[in-house]
């Protein structure tokens, strides 16, 4: 067996498992856990948006919750205030977050490193406080609740997210599509250009890459991922709330991405999964699960700075590297 074969086998097993969730999980654990897995899928896109910027472009954004919030409110305001049906509201969420990412990115990607981390969190805080203030539109901290319009309508039969199996596959489909898109982007010349900027921006500019434009493109793509995540979460929870735009949400996404392993496609998913499972398993018994979350975050950065996926790669290296060579 070669290493690629192991990776492929793992991926195939994982894919089958994810497809089988609505039938296996309720039998083994209970129906509640299907929605936990759906939630992991949704949040992993937010972590993926951090990963796209940090892992592939070298920009640490501490404000991805802003685009998540725009995705949420695009859906929420679209349905509750504008009376949109399902798909236009979903689209509005994604377009709103990408537009916001474009506007913020025009300013933000002029800066790098610490300054970039800080300007992104500042932008997200500005809109967090703004959304708290315009309560009639956003509902502030309490948020707005809405009832979902049907997803598909064939004559008189309606299919909507009220059907939990359909809801799970709806979320799985969009999350998988986003990860596939990200995979394609990373493999493309665009992805190589982004990684060149991450590794050395001066050299990248010397070979003729337009650093500013490429960073902006990456920022809008990250906004797209966060926006889809937020829109899905609004559809999943049937509400939108400004509290999801606070910097703690952005910070958690950064932690998930780094603990899972940045610069790898699946790292953010692994990190998100571990933290949400810890939360769901422990919080039923003990209210202070954040204590354990904090300890895990610190232990990982101290002992496995490349995250869980990094640990996995180390293991694979040890298993498959020829004896004697490093």
């Amino acid at each position: 067996m070669t290493r690629t074969a192991v990776d492929r086998g793992m991926f195939a097993a994982f894919a089958v498992l994810m497809l089988a969730v609505p039938w296996i999980v309720p039998e083994l654990l209970g129906a509640f856990w299907v929605s936990v897995i759906a939630e992991i899928l949704i949040w992993s896109l937010l972590a993926a948006s951090v990963n796209l910027l940090f892992g592939y472009v070298g920009l640490l954004s501490f404000g991805q919750a802003l685009y998540f919030g725009f995705g949420m409110y695009g859906v929420g305001i679209g349905i509750a205030h504008l009376g949109l049906s399902f798909w236009p509201a979903f689209g509005l969420g994604i377009v709103a977050s990408m537009a916001m990412a474009l506007v913020a990115g025009i300013f933000a990607v002029r800066l790098t490193w610490h300054y970039f981390a800080i300007i992104t969190v500042v932008f997200s805080l500005i809109f967090y406080f703004l959304f708290l203030t315009i309560k009639p539109v956003t509902g502030g901290d309490d948020g707005i609740n809405f009832t979902l319009p049907p997803t598909f309508r064939f004559g008189s039969t309606e299919i909507g997210l009220a059907d939990s199996t359909f809801q799970y596959f709806f979320i799985l489909f969009f999350v998988a599509a986003c990860f596939w898109l990200m995979h394609r982007v990373i493999r493309s010349p665009l992805g190589k250009a982004l990684m060149a900027i991450r590794d050395n921006d001066v050299r990248a500019s010397l070979i003729g890459l337009n650093i500013y434009l490429l960073r902006l493109v990456a920022f809008v793509m990250a906004g797209f991922l966060a926006g889809v995540s937020g829109a899905l979460f609004a559809l999943f929870g049937r509400y939108s709330s400004a509290s999801y735009m606070f910097y703690h949400v952005s910070g958690e996404a950064v932690v998930w991405a780094i603990v899972g392993g940045t610069g790898t496609l699946f790292g953010p998913f692994v990190g998100t999964g571990i933290f949400i499972l810890v939360r769901e398993v422990i919080s039923t018994q003990w209210h202070h699960h954040l204590l354990i979350v904090g300890v895990i975050a610190i232990l990982i950065v101290m002992f496995a700075p490349r995250g869980f996926v990094g640990l996995w790669h180390n293991l694979m290296d040890r298993l498959f590297s020829p004896r004697g060579s490093p």
């Binding site: 800066l111 202070h288 950065v301």
Partner: protein, 285 residues
């Protein structure tokens, strides 16, 4: 008019306390190159220590000693155990301090409960200034903050270890070559940063509430002061903290506190984009 004056004065005093906390953030940033997400919680630890001291001894004055002392010890321990091993990876330090922040908040909630507590100031007289009843404690708090700020700057510029700290910040490799124990300076810097924030917490405890989430609101304000003052520019940070809190105080007299917060955030973005070296570069060095 009176309201404006009152809020401006409150803003000024709050700004002095923020300056103390932001200064800790700024030294840690300038020397260790760490964006310390847990810094607001260092402040919270200070308020908790003050509350615990009053509960245990009934004497508030002890808190002004206990808070910076406990802060100093905790800071030194955290730097040695957590920060030192990951010093060369700044992105990881953000995750580590985020983890620390969670640990400190949950520990505080576990030990002191989730209900915000009020602490009575050790001085309860009021004073009439410009026709306004004003708490004497607030003036005293301002004096304490000014004293601590002055003490810190004297320490930095007049003592050997203070000079070491400035030397390591300026040029780490040369400083090590000259025989300055940089590792010890790092421990000390982090400890002092924590101690300053904890002292600020003890001073501020009777003015705000003692709450395990108290640091969450403080952190953005401190970052604003550090950015507007200029990263690593200590006098600039102190000046910016006072300016910001004063401005927010004035805006609050005619608008919502959230509007005041938005105004300072917008000011901060403008500074980041137009003068990333801070508003006061060139004045305060």
């Amino acid at each position: 008019m009176e309201i404006l004056l009152l809020l401006a004065m409150n803003g000024l005093i709050w700004g002095l306390i923020i300056a103390l906390i932001a200064l800790g953030l700024s030294v840690i940033f300038g020397l260790l190159d760490i964006i310390n997400i847990a810094h607001g919680d260092f402040f919270m630890v200070g308020t908790m220590v003050a509350w615990a001291t009053v509960e245990a001894s009934g004497n508030f004055w002890l808190a002004f000693l206990a808070a910076p002392l406990i802060g100093f010890v905790l800071g030194a321990l955290i730097q040695r155990i957590v920060i030192q091993p990951i010093r060369n990876a700044a992105a990881l330090s953000i995750v580590a301090t985020f983890g620390l922040s969670m640990i400190m908040q949950e520990t505080a909630r576990l030990t002191f409960g989730a209900i915000p507590k009020r602490l009575l100031p050790p001085i309860q007289q009021t004073l009439t200034v410009f026709g306004l009843e004003y708490e004497v404690y607030r003036l005293f708090a301002a004096a304490l903050a000014i004293a601590a700020l002055a003490g810190f700057f004297l320490y930095l510029h007049r003592t050997k270890i203070g000079t070491w700290m400035r030397a390591v910040r300026h040029d780490r490799d040369t400083a090590i070559a000259m025989g300055i124990p940089a590792e010890k300076v790092y421990v000390l810097t982090f400890a002092i940063g924590f101690a300053l924030a904890a002292f600020g917490g003890a001073v501020a405890a009777p003015i705000t509430t003692v709450d395990f989430r108290g640091g969450v609101d403080i952190l953005p304000v401190c970052f604003m002061a550090v950015i507007i003052g200029g990263l690593g520019n200590l006098p600039g940070t102190a000046a910016a903290a006072v300016l910001l809190a004063f401005m927010e105080g004035v805006i609050q007299s005619f608008a919502d506190p959230t509007v005041a917060r938005i105004a300072s955030l917008v000011l901060m973005s403008a500074v980041l984009l137009i003068r990333p070296q801070g508003l006061f570069k060139g004045f305060a060095r």
